[in-house]
Each structure stands twice: as C-alpha cells, then as structure tokens.
C-alpha cells in the first residue's frame, strides 16, 4: 500500500497581496496534487495566480514550470505535479484593485 498524506498549507487564510506558501518537505513522495479552495475573492478585477516552485534546500526557490489557470471567482482549483525533488511551495499573485482573497490550500502527496 502506498503512503499518502494531505497537508493543509493555508487554512482559512486571508491575503491582500502576493504571497508564497510555507516550504513543505516532500522528498518521500513521487506525486503531488495541489488544491486551492477559494472561498472569497473580492476587489475590482480581482484574480489569483499560483505557480509551483521547487528548491534543493527549502531556502532558495525557482519555478517548477507548471501553474494554475488564473482564478477569478470562488471555487475549487487543482494542479498535479511530479518530479519535484524535496520541497514544494506555491508563489501566488493577487491582482486587482483592493483585492482580497480568503482560501484553503491543500497539498496531497502520494508515495
């Protein structure tokens, strides 16, 4: 049986600007799936973007190459990733005037 683990990376968090998620170690896993549950997204032209980033040490990061489609309304969004090495995070951008987002971010890892 393959191990799996779901980590709540952001829990009911509210952001008013761009942010990166906390580093999460995932060397044991061979596949990952991000979920972003946008509960509220407000502001003129508000939109949320999220790019996957990887790191050799949890300190210095680069883009992995995949990214979520732009999110412009509440809902559940998902993105699968493989071959990510030992660490994962999301680099998230919040566009729009006086934009505000409240969300959950999950990282589902499988051996």
């Amino acid at each position: 049986m393959r191990h799996s683990f779901t980590a709540v990376i952001e829990k009911n968090a509210t952001f008013h600007e761009d942010f990166e998620t906390e580093p999460y170690e995932c060397a044991w896993a061979s596949e990952a799936r991000w979920f972003i549950h946008v509960a509220e997204l407000e502001g003129d032209g508000a939109g949320l973007s999220a790019r996957v980033q990887v790191s050799p040490d949890g300190l210095f990061w680069c883009d992995e190459g995949s990214a979520f489609e732009s999110m412009s309304e509440p809902g559940m969004y998902s993105l699968a990733v493989r071959d990510f090495g030992g660490w994962l995070r999301l680099d998230c951008g919040l566009d729009g005037e006086d934009a505000r987002v409240r969300l959950m971010i999950y990282l589902v890892l499988k051996e």
Partner: protein, 302 residues
C-alpha cells in the same frame, strides 16, 4: 525490556511493559497530525492561537551546505516548523484513549534547529566566532504535553506541559526546563471573557511558566543551523495520581512528582478517557524554528 533489547530499533528506548505506539518516521507520520481548535464548521470561530498550527512534515534534514543529513536511522524524521514570525507555534498531536489508570511513558530521539539565515539585520545577537553561532539564539522553545480526561466530572481534565526554553520572550538565553502554572485557555473560557495574549497555546500570559527545580540544561545545538545531533528524552506521567513522574533528557533526570498539574474546574462532555500526546515548537524570533523527532515510543504499565 527483553523484547526491546532484542530489537535493534527499540534497544535505544526503555519502554514500559506495553508498547502502545512505536512511531518510526521512516515509514510515515503515524497519526501525528496538526492540532486544530474547536469550531462549529466555521473556521473563523477558531481561537487566533489555534488557527495556524502547521502540518507536520516528513523531513530528510536537508541543508544548503551539505545536503541530506538524515536521521538516527533511515532517512526521515518528523519535523514541526513554525512560520518565520515571532511567537508563532507549530503543534502536532497524537490522539489515543486510556484503557486503565497507571503510568504512561513518552520517549523520543529528537533534535531542534533554527532555520539558516544569511547576513541580514540581527541586532543584539552575538557574532559568529568560529564556535558560537548566532543561530542558536534564534531558537525559542519546544514543549511536550498531554491532554487527559478521566471522565466527565469537574477536575477530571488536565494538561501537563513541560517546556525546554532555549530563549525567553525577549530572546535571551535561558536554557532550562519549565512547567506551566496557568490553564490553557479553552475556547469556552475565552467566550466567557478570559484574557489571553493568544500567542502560546499553553497559557494566557508568559509569566505562567515556572522553572523545574534542577532543570537547567544546555543541549547540543552544535554551533551551526545545519548540524543535527539527536537527543534522548523520556517523560513519565501517572494517570492514577494525575501527576508527572519524571523527565529524563540525556544525563539529566528531573523528579516531577511535586510539580503541580492544574485541572479544569468544569467538566467536559464526550472526551472520556482522553489520552492525547502533543508536542510543539515556538519561535521567539522572526526565524523559522524546527523540532525534529527521529522516532517516538509511547508505552504503559497497563
């Protein structure tokens, strides 16, 4: 003990006769999960201090300068990581119930670290001198604790909490073991107006910790943030007396039988025989703090 000595992975522990759990984090997190406070389905109801306890991680102890450190055996350990924000706390919990009153023992091989920083503004910190490294002053504390309820009548529920305080709230080295003298403010207490700083899950105010007699101890931080040395810890508590018994950390053993353990005045419904084991790490700087567990053994004499 004979069984423990015959097993190479258990021989570094001293378990009581019945092993309830042997959590070797080389094969998963073994039910150690993120603590979340009480809510009614609306996460806005969570106490501020309980909103962001962070998920545990399976760590390889990998660092920028030397790659993967690994654990005592195998590759993985359980890591709790704070955010890089002063007084942030990461908490993991394992939820059991007790089948009888009696002794329960928690043993672990652990280590702790502050995240590597580079240059930057670190006013007041002693400079690196080739031996001492300012990283040690970035580490706040880690705490082992339980959440016990023998029934539903008042004074059946209590928390025992033992904290290794490396630096105090002002970031000054203290390097000692503490016990708490104030109650963990429950959601119910806060709803009734209890005043709390909301930056420590254990107590409402920082002066609600007191030193354990004979509890001064320097651990092996080992100079830099990328060397980890594993420490042995054994904590024994007694469900029949509602007290801690003793805490051993390497060569220091503290008799805890006279340390008071505060109980809640009100009864709690629906948590009969609750036996939760918890651990946390709390930073006193704007640097991520990490607590690592190579392995944990929980045992009992019942």
């Amino acid at each position: 003990m004979a069984l423990a000595n015959a097993d190479i992975r258990l021989s570094r522990f001293n378990p009581l006769p019945r092993i309830l759990a042997f959590d070797d984090f080389d094969d998963g997190l073994h039910g150690w999960c993120e603590l979340v406070g009480n809510h009614n389905g609306d996460l806005n109801e969570l106490q501020p201090v309980f909103r962001d306890m962070r998920p545990a991680q399976l760590s390889t102890c990998t660092f920028f300068d030397m790659g993967t450190h690994g654990a005592v055996d195998g590759t993985y350990s359980m890591k709790l990581a704070t955010r890089p924000r002063k007084f942030h706390q990461a908490v993991a919990i394992k939820r059991l119930t007790s089948a009888a009153d009696g002794l329960v023992q928690f043993e672990a091989w652990f280590t702790y670290k502050a995240e590597q920083t580079f240059g930057g503004d670190d006013p007041g910190a002693r400079a690196w001198d080739g031996n001492y490294h300012p990283s040690e002053a970035h580490f706040g504390s880690f705490t082992l604790w339980n959440d016990i309820c023998e029934g539903t009548t008042p004074r059946d529920r209590y928390h025992a909490a033992l904290r290794y305080e490396n630096t105090n709230e002002e970031g000054e080295f203290t390097q000692r073991w503490l016990y708490k003298t104030g109650l963990h403010p429950t959601t119910r207490m806060l709803r009734e107006g209890f005043d709390s700083n909301q930056n420590d899950v254990h107590v409402a105010k920082p002066d609600m910790w007191a030193p354990i007699p004979g509890g001064d101890q320097q651990l092996c931080f080992n100079e830099v943030p990328t060397k980890v040395n594993w420490h042995y810890l054994r904590w024994l508590f007694d469900l029949s007396t509602r007290r801690n018994t003793e805490l051993q950390v390497n060569d220091l053993t503290m008799d805890l039988r006279d340390i008071p353990v505060l109980r809640f005045e009100e009864g709690y419904w629906g948590i009969n025989r609750l036996l939760n084991l918890c651990m946390d790490v709390r930073t006193t700087s704007n640097v991520r703090n990490f607590l690592y567990m190579d392995s944990v053994v929980i045992s009992a004499d019942w």
